[in-house]
Amino acid sequence: MPEVRPSDIIFRAGGRVLEKYGVPAIAGGGRPRTGDLIETFSRADGGVQVGFYDQAGLLRFAGLNVLRAQWMDTDGDAIRDRLALWFDDARTSRALGNNDFNAATGWFQVGTPVFTANYVSLGAISMTKIADDDGAATEYTGFNYNGKTDKPWASPTDGDGTKPVSIFWTKSDLESPSGAQINITDTTAAGAVRFSANIKADGAGAPVISSLTGTYLGAEFITTVGTRKVYRLHFLTGTVTVANEHVIRVVPSGGGPASETGDIICALYQVENAGAFPSSPITPTTTVAIVKAADDLLYTLLGFSPSNDFTALARVVRTFWMDSSVGPAPIAPGISAIGSALPSLNFFFAQAVPGAVAVQIRDGATIQGPAASNLAAGTIVSVVGQWWNLKAGGFCKQDGGSGFSADSTPAANPFSKFGNADVYVGRRIGASQYLNGGLLDLIWARGRFSLVEMLKAAT
């Protein structure tokens, strides 16, 4: 069995590199005496703070042009044990006052729900307890966007369709029989419900969703605070009409009979402009929407030549979008690319083919590349791409952990140099789609190696 020698490795990046070498990426020969690699990272949004989780699972924010390194649970024991570099698409958080829910940012109250701010600390933000304590009437809080300049979705920019919604949640102190409810109604369409979810807790404090309008994508365990388990719940709304007026509500007693009382403990009710699934937390809104740019990481190297064959390994923490095609337009989350201009090599997931990773040769005229549903099970998804014979009409294939796919058809246009010497990390060339997940390891090596051989080089 061939072995990946250190001299075969051209480039390493990822959270593991940050943990072991102290920087997000290194050249194959380590950190040169001339200084670390030339790194270009931007999140060109003027300094919007975007969230990530520290080792304790507490939410932290990163500011202007700061790459996020998030601690993640990679073995399913609910302990965040590994650093991962985090990359997102651009998103806009439009729901206003989405972390205080009270009159200061324009929310209205029906009845007199009792607010307890800072009830559970999540680090950079705190959860609020909102209680309906009136046994004769339903009490709740809401935001009516009729007459407001900023809406939950911009018309026509955001387009009609399903929209990502997320909220931090933990088990209620007093759970109403109906559970707590979050919803969005369309007042232009006679109060049609565009999104609604009733949330209760099971015996272990995990969320149970019922009475759903929209799509429940899953619960992401965040941390344990005292005895409380905190989750971030991911949803898609039903189809919304962005030109219409909407009301967003948080209903502690779940919209059941007026006699029900109960509470909801929640934070950061994030409604996003577009996307197949919710993005990472964006700093809470007050009275205007917040636009978060994508995470653009790029290195400039000189060690790549089409004279070589290439193998790339990526180890990514499994997320819910990898195994199902969700959202209005499945995306192709990027892992990496050699050459940010054509010709180039492309390495990405293919959400339209659930459970698939894809590789491409983009020779400037055609695109050669197989995508196959072969992601193996496990908390960590390890995928390999291979590219060879580039100067004479190249081939490529991939392995998601279940064996290599068939070879691609040969590229029509051989090439002797890449479009440039850039290496994308956490994104692909072509459609500007980013990993939307946590990158543990990325290794580019000269030569053709198997997944097992590359994994040995990753340890």
């Binding site: 020698r5 250190p6 940050l18 943990e19 072991k20 070498y21 102290g22 920087v23 997000p24 290194i26 020969g29 380590g30 950190r31 040169p32 005496r33 670390d36 790194e39 990272f41 703070q49 990530f52 520290d54 080792q55 932290r60 924010f61 990163a62 500011g63 202007l64 700061v66 790459l67 996020r68 390194a69 650093l83 680090g123 950079a124 080089a457 340890t459």
Partner: protein, 285 residues
């Protein structure tokens, strides 16, 4: 016996990281004063008069390093001749420049006496010569700071040198090992009676480090830490045994050679060998 630990890189060093920006502030008054600027803590000069301090006594002081990218660290060292024994020192990391959302890497009250201890001890370890070392779980971020709360009436922090970066703990050292070896130098003349008259005596620790790396990827770290950083005459903390970190030494390479040899078990398992001497040893009493 525990494992050896090496720390040579330093966020505070403009020599190692010329793009890092150092700035100090205080709750009251200036965070640094002319002649005692914050940048001095990264120059590795062990002269006790070459220290950083602030303007006003009994106020919180913060020394911030803005890295050129996200970087990881797991160890903090404050050199001898500081006045922080019994005082609180925090190392904090953030990804926002105003530290409004931060992680605490370590929060220690520095020991007042030297005792045998582990590098990971809650409050770190005071070395035999009075330096203070602390290893903490790895953290990463772009903005790092030392924060020293008000120390008490008429007191201001004085820090001669500090190191903050990712340490390296590759493997066990070869034995036999003599971590406490030292050499004695000076002038000597012998009288007619056969008495030796000595003057200008100096004593410093010295030794040899030899180890065979166990993981192929450690070659890259050895190349960086030992060959390039230490090998460029940059002082390095050597902790021969992390369970006995009070015997740590700040070392310079002995003039000569530093080798990473590829022999024996082949390219993948190189040997690292180098000799070191103590950096600016204390005057012999």
């Amino acid at each position: 016996m525990g494992q050896p630990v090496f720390l040579v890189r330093n966020f505070f060093s403009r020599r190692i990281y010329p793009l890092h920006i150092l700035a100090a502030s205080a709750a009251s008054g200036a965070g640094e004063i002319v002649g005692n600027e914050f940048g001095r803590i990264g120059d590795a000069c062990r002269d006790p008069f070459d220290y950083w301090t602030n303007e006003t006594a009994n106020t919180e002081v913060r020394g911030v390093v803005t890295c050129d990218r996200s970087r990881s660290a797991d160890m903090l060292a404050i050199d001898r001749a500081h006045n922080l024994a019994g005082k609180q020192v925090l190392c904090e990391v953030a990804d926002v420049s105003d530290f409004s959302s931060l992680q605490v890497a370590c929060d220690c009250t520095l020991p007042t006496v030297t005792g045998t201890g582990d590098l990971d001890d809650l409050n770190g370890i005071r070395t035999e010569e009075g330096a203070w070392l602390k290893r903490f779980p790895v953290r990463s971020g772009k903005y790092w700071r030392l924060r020293i709360p008000a120390m008490g009436a008429s007191l201001k922090p004085q820090i001669v040198n500090a190191w903050l970066d990712l340490s390296w703990s590759p493997t066990l050292l070869d034995t036999p090992l003599a971590p406490d070896s030292h050499e004695i130098g000076g002038q000597a003349s012998t009288t007619q009676s056969g008495w030796e008259i000595r003057s200008g005596i100096w004593v410093r620790r010295m030794g040899h480090v030899g180890m065979r790396l166990l993981v192929p990827s450690d070659y890259e770290l050895a190349r960086d830490q030992i060959q390039y950083q230490f090998g460029l005459n940059r002082p390095m903390w050597i902790i021969h045994d992390d369970e006995q970190a009070d015997r740590a030494v700040l070392a310079l390479p002995r003039l000569g050679k530093i080798e990473i040899e590829q022999k024996g078990r082949g390219w993948f398992y190189p040997r690292v060998d180098f000799d070191w001497i103590e950096h600016s040893a204390k005057d012999a009493a």
